[in-house]
Symmetry: C2
Subunit: 416 residues, 2 copies
């Protein structure tokens, strides 16, 4: 894409009313815009990142048999009454002109449970794995920390339905693995730890995926031996000891919760009388699990981990573009050569943002480039052309390399 065409521009100044690093850099870089407290628009660059995260999640969820659906955001009161959650205080409620009571979905057990029930009669119809990626709403009194705690958010919510606990337990482990694959592909492998949390009324534990960063708003106790995390809810109950390896050497770390998974057991199937006929002829209750990831929050967490004083440093797989091609100087030969490289990069299916802006100074171009944080920077300038070369630099490194123009595409394909 040509940067001159991008309708959004970067901001030089610090953004008022935003304390978090992720909001500062995402707004200044032109990835998002704040409509009001806790509510953001995704602009073209941010939308590209969002789609990459969405595709990673979709691929991994499909890989474990998930079937994608798209459920409404507007939900009927009756369903919440059935699970006793109509009074949930963070739920937005509204009325139609005709006097009907609706809420905005902040989770979808109340829709997916009766929906799947319609199609399941026998043990042969189980298990069922179903998910969606959709905007959700939560009436946060204090939305803060940029994309980490918002009122409207995009979430992947996955629900599984099982005939017995063994089947649920086995699948729960598969989802755990899929989650680690997602966080790995998003660049958070080293920082993200499985963390025990309270399981509510029905299970001993639920699990959070916590990404360690000094800017995290959660606090976890990380076992220095087996690397299991424990959250604040349960550390006392566990007597400040790792329940897995019994180690007492736990380090307090600041972290961001980037995912959570629950065994819901029969909490919702009971409320909706969702039973099935088992192979022994008996009518039994269906068991459920649910598995969430907030896409915006994940994006925010990535920024909190991957940035420096100059801007964002996107991990490769979720970067809005792979290459930032920068033309320095508006002389005709420079433009011609850079245009040709731009076309060749596109032909080679390398996603490229081409800074073809004529009125910007070298300094402004470099500042924007560091702020936007595309993994690879390629510069074409009178100086590099003297050596029939382009200058290549990774955003995350200081090392600069000159590569001959006729080897450039090949080099980028194989080295980045």
């Amino acid at each position: 894409m040509r940067q001159s065409q991008l309708f959004v521009k970067t901001l030089k100044e610090t953004v008022k009313d935003e304390k978090s690093i992720n909001a500062q850099l995402l707004i200044r870089g032109g990835f998002i815009d704040k409509l009001m407290a806790g509510v953001y628009s995704y602009l073209p660059l941010g939308f590209r990142v969002l789609k990459k995260i969405e595709n990673i999640i979709r691929e991994e969820m499909d890989m474990i048999g998930g079937q994608e659906v798209f459920l409404p955001a507007l939900l009927p009161k009756a369903n919440w009454l059935q699970t006793n959650r109509w009074q949930y205080e963070e739920m937005f409620k509204l009325k139609s002109r005709g006097g009907k009571d609706y809420s905005l979905g902040w989770t979808h057990e109340e829709v997916i449970t009766p929906l799947v029930k319609k199609f399941v009669n026998s043990y042969k119809d189980l298990p069922v794995y179903v998910y969606q990626i959709q905007n959700k709403f939560r009436d946060e009194l204090r939305s803060k920390s940029g994309l980490l705690r918002v009122i409207e958010f995009i979430m992947k919510d996955f629900y599984s339905f099982h005939k017995n606990e063994k089947d649920l337990d086995k699948y729960y482990e598969e989802v755990k693995e899929a989650y680690f694959k997602i966080f790995k592909r998003c660049g958070l492998e080293k920082q993200t730890f499985l963390t025990l949390a309270s399981g509510g009324t029905f299970s001993k534990y639920s699990h959070e995926f916590q990404t360690i960063t000094p800017y995290g708003e959660d606090q976890i106790y990380l076992c220095q031996k087996c690397k299991l995390g424990l959250n604040k809810e349960i550390i006392e109950k566990e007597n400040y000891q790792c329940p897995k390896c019994k180690n007492k050497n736990l380090k307090i770390e600041k972290a961001i919760e980037v995912g959570n998974i629950f065994k819901l057991m029969d909490k919702f199937s009971k409320a909706f009388k969702f039973t099935f006929k088992d192979s022994d002829g008996k009518e039994k209750i269906v068991l459920m699990g649910c598995y969430g990831i907030g896409l915006g929050r994940l994006m925010g967490a990535i920024i909190e981990v991957y940035h420096d004083s100059k801007g964002i440093i996107w991990p490769k797989e979720i970067a809005p573009f792979k290459v930032h091609l920068i033309q320095i100087g508006n002389e005709r030969n420079i433009e011609e050569i850079t245009e040709k490289i731009y076309e060749n990069l596109k032909k080679a299916k390398i996603e490229v943002l081409y800074d073809d802006r004529k009125e910007k100074s070298v300094g402004e171009k470099f500042t924007d480039c560091d702020l936007i944080g595309i993994p690879t920077r390629i510069i074409i300038s009178p100086k590099t052309l003297e050596k029939k070369s382009a200058e290549i630099k990774k955003r995350a490194q200081k090392k600069i390399k000159l590569i001959k123009l006729n080897q450039l595409i090949n080099y980028v394909q194989h080295n980045f």
Copy 2:
């Protein structure tokens, strides 16, 4: 995909409380589920169709320079006050716990106009083309006709910003062409006509794209000479005469509005004081156009046009799968051969739904196949295997063909 894995099942019975053909067939075929009046869930097959429509629209919008964003559904009162639309009766309103007034978006001029304004100062920053694909909400008193008139709907809304009327007019024509490409790819080329509608306060006309079908809820007057449509709003004003070719031979047709485009002119830019510095140094008002397509309504319109007494007949490009592979008989050799064909179709990147259900009769499989409406049916049975062949039939035709197994993949690739 294996049909045995699909958690949704078809329904044999007519659906109560749904009068429209699209709702009947989409619900019975397992494409959608009704959560409440005017609010539907998209199930795996319906989601696949939705994504195909979305991708067609995205490709055509990108082709005319559209930059994709994702705006919030939750909107602040202040923005509606600025355009005097806070009292719009079909808008859902809600309050936060903290007493803030929000609405749910049914259109997004109130967000996109001040957003684009932030980045546009000079004529050099124009034009801007921006769009999103997102769920919207409208407090319909009488939602009806299945996906044609709903409370929550998925919409593509595109906004363009221009420095003068000439530029807006020119782009408006480009969008028209892009719209016809979209409807052509969705199989509605022959049935869809550009139709004049009222332009509101600021333009003489706006334009609707009306798809003619006996089940349409709109009525248009179609010029029998130049094929321009006129809607009911303006037919009297035009004295029952085509304003383009002056012909008076107009035929009344029932139709479904599948898209509409407006020249907004300065209606919203004025409200938000959105001006720019022109090349002559003068500060001028920005002119706008907006261009909508409802994805669910388009899906519904396609069903209204493409069905018979047995079920849906999907146009190729938006079908949930290209091939419905049906195994008849559970004998081992039949299963082995069908499994192999399934794998080979997938390897050849032909999207295939494989009816591998063991407990279903031949009759049930055929009934489901016709109801779901995938364009090409391939049958493997003891009878076809006697001739080392598969039976191929298009959903839209009666003709049946036997194709040798070793030529099957090649035949499908080249003939469907």
